[in-house]
Amino acid sequence: EPEVTQTPSHQVTQMGQEVILRCVPISNHLYFYWYRQILGQKVEFLVSFYNNEISEKSEIFDDQFSVERPDGSNFTLKIRSTKLEDSAMYFCASSPGQGNADTQYFGPGTRLTVL
């Protein structure tokens, strides 16, 4: 069964450093997403991506963040100049782009720890 994959599973970085989180969405899906979950809090939407551009973003997704689809399979989230409060689980998701609700399927996540 096709699934979303993410690398690395755990990333530790120093405050102020840049990190890139990588995702391979399900191959025939058209929409891609990033969410984050701070420990003990709700899952929060960051950004959605369609047809090589951002289709929607939240207030959290400021100039510190960027997304890219560098090739036909990968989807990346870059966080510039990381802050302590960026420590969280980051989930990538993809959806087919069809149907009323367009169900999103999630990867296993990357745990980001900022020291």
């Binding site: 809090q41 899952v43 929607e56 939240s58 989930f91």
Partner: protein, 110 residues
């Protein structure tokens, strides 16, 4: 503002003891309500999508129902392997973002 509230926050059941989890929502123009299961340190695993009031979906020991204000996830004769956090999320209007509840942490004792 779109909102999702889940209750209870935590639930402990004996194996075989059926129960229900609640997800109350306030959205403008529901496009879909989603139930996911999340194991510790893992990503949300899709369970069900519900589109309209009155709809029901079933999978093994789980059954999800939807009204205009809330959804229930009924767990019949649960087993220890059903222990997880169950998350509810909604999509509204023309947005594709999901708005999430905090989840119900379910523990099933053998």
């Amino acid at each position: 503002e779109d909102q999702v509230t889940q209750s209870p926050e935590a639930l402990r059941l004996q194996e075989g003891e059926s129960s229900s989890l609640n997800c109350s929502y306030t959205v403008s123009g529901l496009r879909g309500l989603f139930w996911y299961r999340q194991d510790p340190g893992k990503g949300p695993e899709f369970l069900f999508t519900l589109y309209s009031a009155g709809e029901e979906k079933e999978k093994e020991r789980l059954k999800a129902t939807l009204t205009k204000k809330e959804s229930f996830l009924h767990i019949t004769a649960p087993k220890p392997e059903d222990s997880a956090t169950y998350l509810c999320a909604v999509r509204s209007g023309n947005n594709r973002k999901l708005i999430w509840g905090l989840g119900t942490s379910l523990a099933v004792n053998p």
